[in-house]
Amino acid sequence: MITYLGYVFIFWGTIAFLISAVGLIRMPDIYTRMHVGTKSTTMGIILVILGAICIEPSWALKLILLAIFILLTNPLSSSVIARASHKDGATLELDELKKVEK
C-alpha cells in the first residue's frame, strides 16, 4: 500500500519537472527562466525523495541527507545566476514598471 503512495509522490515530482521543462522553453527572458527552472525543480526533487523514502524506508538516512544538500545548494546557484546576468546587462522582456515611470 505504502509503495503505491510512494509512486504517487514520484509521479507528482516528475510532473513538476515537466512543468519546469516546459516553462524553460516558454518564458521569454533569463530572469523568468531562472525563476521557473529553480523553484519547480526544488519541489520536484523533494517529492521524488519523499516517494523513495516511502518505497524503501531503510534508505531514509541517506535520502534525507540528500534532501538537505539540495535545499542548501539549489537557491545558491539561482541567486548567483541572477546576479551575474544583472551585471552582464540583461533586461526584462515584459517590464510593466517602465510604463509606470513614464
Binding site: Y7, I10, F11, G13, T14, I15, F17, L18, S20, A21, V22, L24, I25, I30, R33, M34, G37, T38, T41, T42, G44, I45, V48, I49, A52, I55, E56, S58, W59, K62, L63, L65, L66, F69, I70, T73, N74, L76, S77, S78, V80, I81, R83, A84, S85, K87, D88, A90
Partner: protein
C-alpha cells in the same frame, strides 16, 4: 509504474536539452544545465530504486553536494569576477 515515471523524466530532460542546445546567451545554457543536474540526480535515485542497490546513492549524494559548483563558476565568469 516505474516505466511511466522514467519516461516522463526522460521527456522533460529532452525538452530541457532543447534550451540547453539553443539558448541565445551563455546564462540560458547555464540555467538549463542546472535544471538538468537536478533531473539527473532524480534519475540516479530512480535507477537505484530499480537496481535495489543503496550503495549507488553515493553518486547522487556527490551530485547533490558539489554539482552546483559548475553553475557558480560559470556565474562568476559571466559577471567577469573571476
Amino acid at each position: 509504474m516505474f516505466e511511466l515515471v522514467t519516461i516522463l523524466l526522460l521527456l522533460s530532460m529532452m525538452i530541457t536539452l532543447y534550451r540547453f542546445l539553443k539558448g541565445p546567451t551563455l546564462a540560458d545554457r547555464v540555467v538549463a544545465f542546472d535544471v538538468m543536474n537536478i533531473m539527473g540526480v532524480s534519475l540516479l535515485i530512480l535507477l537505484a530504486l530499480y537496481f535495489q542497490r543503496s550503495l549507488y546513492l553515493d553518486i547522487a549524494l556527490v551530485f547533490g553536494l558539489i554539482g552546483f559548483l559548475g553553475t557558480t563558476i560559470f556565474g562568476r565568469y559571466i559577471e567577469k569576477g573571476i
